[in-house]
């Protein structure tokens, strides 16, 4: 837990920048279009959401694993003349990092407003984990120490961390299944979620084993989608349509020692994740502690990634994560819901974007659930979390959301974070 935080000092550009627009494509397993099309589709939606024109955007950043379309053609399609662009390599943990880098680019005078995007045909073209065409590529040099052992996919790569965490913290399969239970209930209230069925602990435990300790339902969905977020200065942010989500703090790919994707195992405790180090940046820099967060977006590539990050960011005392994830705290109606859109386990796989988009909507109070919209276009939230969608009134908006945390995961040894407040 963070104590003695000075909340008055304007440290690290705290509160000086904001997210003003968010957009996404449909979430499918068969987009039938190129990543270039997905990118412009999502960005156009983010521009419409903000009420911003192409002439007011002059920066662009994206991330990918060479499975996307870079900024220049995307900007050209949209008539955006760029003063700044950068396309980086990476998946999970990139978006929180890019928010920080966009702030830096604006602060350095390189541009004024930046759109960030991720466009991926993650099911129909390039699947995560080295399947398909990637499985035929030669394994050279350093990869002989891991991939040659049939150690390819994210689940396989992280399984030793997860197994050791069960050993060290007495975590049970049932406790971990509660992460899926909570996120699936959230997804049932989300019209755009790919998997909307509510799942039980037994559903998870009875699903087939993929790589022990991961059952099928401990693992996230694979989808095709584009997502976009627009960042600008707090001064400009109020020129646009929505209540801004002000950025209080960011962490970009903070690492454990020996942070190679598998070689971090040389450094213990193996069950410790990079959040242990990132917490010492995000809480002091944002001026708040974990106990003050109304919502979390803890990256759920797997049930375990949500759990281990929440523990090492200090949302519960060390060793008590099994209780925190299974006692109702992380479910809508509980004290601090996690991934209220359904996250990667149920809504969509976007490498972290959808959890940031969801928290921006939660801060605005305008989550897109099954609640009725009045004649002025304002959604009338019921705060009924029990009735499952698509029943009218099925709600996933939390009341009075003022502070949110996004906890991004790349692998056990790298973490990013983003704390926002209602502007």
């Amino acid at each position: 837990m963070t104590t003695d935080v000075d909340t008055t000092a304007p440290a690290f550009l705290r509160d000086k920048y904001a997210i003003i627009g968010i957009g996404e494509t449909e979430y499918t397993r068969g987009s039938g279009v190129t990543t270039r099309k997905l990118a412009t589709w999502a960005i156009r939606n983010a521009m419409e959401d903000a009420g911003i024109g192409p002439g007011e955007i002059d920066g662009m950043m994206s991330y990918s694993g060479n499975d996307s379309t870079p900024s220049p053609p995307v900007a050209a399609d949209l008539g955006i003349r760029l003063n700044f662009y950068t396309d980086i390599f990476g998946g999970g943990s990139s978006i929180e990092n890019l928010v920080g880098l966009a702030i830096g680019a604006i602060e350095a005078g390189m541009c004024k407003t930046v759109v960030l995007y991720r466009a991926m045909n993650g099911f129909t073209e390039v699947r995560i984990g080295g399947t398909g065409a990637r499985a035929a590529a030669p394994l050279a040099g350093d990869r002989l120490h891991n991939a040659a052992y049939g150690w390819f996919s994210a689940g396989q790569n992280f399984s030793q961390t997860f197994m050791r965490a069960m050993h060290d913290y007495n975590l049970t399969p049932e406790q971990l299944a509660h992460v899926k239970v909570a996120h699936s209930r959230h997804a049932s209230q989300n019209p755009k979620a790919y998997y909307k069925n509510r799942m039980s602990v037994d559903d998870v435990l009875n699903s087939r084993m993929i790589v022990k300790p991961l059952h099928l339902l401990d693992c996230c969905v694979e989808t095709d989608n584009g997502t976009a977020i627009i960042v600008t200065s707090a001064e400009r942010a109020y020129d646009y349509k929505n209540t801004p989500a002000r950025v209080l703090g960011v962490v970009g790919r903070c690492c454990k020692p020996g942070n190679d994707i598998t070689l971090h195992y040389q450094y213990g405790p193996v069950s410790r994740v990079a959040a242990y180090y990132a917490k010492d940046i995000i809480w002091p820099n944002s001026g708040h502690g974990p106990e003050e967060m109304d919502l979390t977006g803890s990256y759920d590539a797997f049930t375990f990634t949500t759990a281990l990050q929440l523990q090492d960011y200090g949302f519960c005392p060390p060793g008590e994560i099994g209780g925190y994830i299974s006692d109702g705290t992380i479910q809508l109606g509980g004290a601090r819901p996690n991934n209220t859109s359904g996250g990667h386990l149920c809504e969509v796989y976007t490498h972290g974007m959808n959890m940031v988009i969801e928290n921006v909507r939660q801060l605005r109070g305008t989550v897109d659930d099954y609640c009725p919209v009045d004649a002025d276009g304002v959604r009338q939230h019921t705060y009924d979390y029990e009735t499952p969608g698509p029943t009218e009134g099925a709600c996933r908006q939390k009341q009075d959301v003022n502070l949110t945390a996004n906890l991004g995961w790349a692998y056990p040894a790298a973490a990013s974070a983003l704390v926002m407040r209602k502007g």
């Binding site: 050279a140 049939g150 996919s153 197994m163 050791r164 790589v211 213990g268």
Partner: protein
């Protein structure tokens, strides 16, 4: 010339500019496990590195190291990615704490050497052997020959060791 070999449909390769891995896997091909030892701080490192993670020096000697240790953690693959590995499931991917340099230079640090649970001949272990191995199991290193100059370190149960009751996944 690069070293190349095929293993379960995977094309394994060590390029000729990758001297550290060429040396490492040549020792494995000789069934004589070696690691780099830093000439500045005298610590061993694993796997091959271009500089010492403990002191940033870049001057190593290759020294023989005993291939014995205990399982620190494991994953057990039931759904394989490589088609040729699917008939070998379940297979285990181990990280094994070597007895050598255990807890040095800090208590939670070890030379954690990866590998599959294997038979004494280096082949992937059958299901009844996989079912015996968990955290704490004592293992000894064996080698799987892939090509001239390229053998993979593997782990087999150390029949001569006093075996503790291993920790296994709770559903087992």
């Amino acid at each position: 010339m690069p070293v190349e070999g095929e293993y379960f449909g995977m094309n394994l390769r060590i390029n000729d500019n990758d001297g550290d891995n060429l040396t490492y896997f040549q020792h494995c091909a000789d069934h004589d496990f070696h690691l780099q030892k830093c000439n500045a701080c005298s610590l061993l490192v694993y796997p091959p590195r271009t500089a010492c993670p403990w002191c940033a020096a870049a001057d190593f000697d290759w020294v023989p190291v005993e291939g014995k240790g205990a399982v620190h953690s494991y994953g057990e693959v039931h759904h394989a990615i490589q088609p040729q590995l699917q008939e070998k499931t379940p297979y285990q991917i181990l990280i094994v704490d070597l007895d050598t340099q255990l807890g040095e230079p800090e208590p939670e640090i070890a030379l954690r050497v990866t590998g599959n649970t294997a038979t004494p001949d280096g082949d992937l272990a059958p299901p009844d052997v996989v079912a015996k191995v968990g955290i704490g199991t004592r293992m000894r290193m064996v080698f799987k020959d892939v090509a001239p100059g390229l053998s993979l370190p593997m782990w087999t149960i150390d029949e001569d060791a006093d075996q503790p009751e291993p920790w296994r996944y709770p559903q087992d």
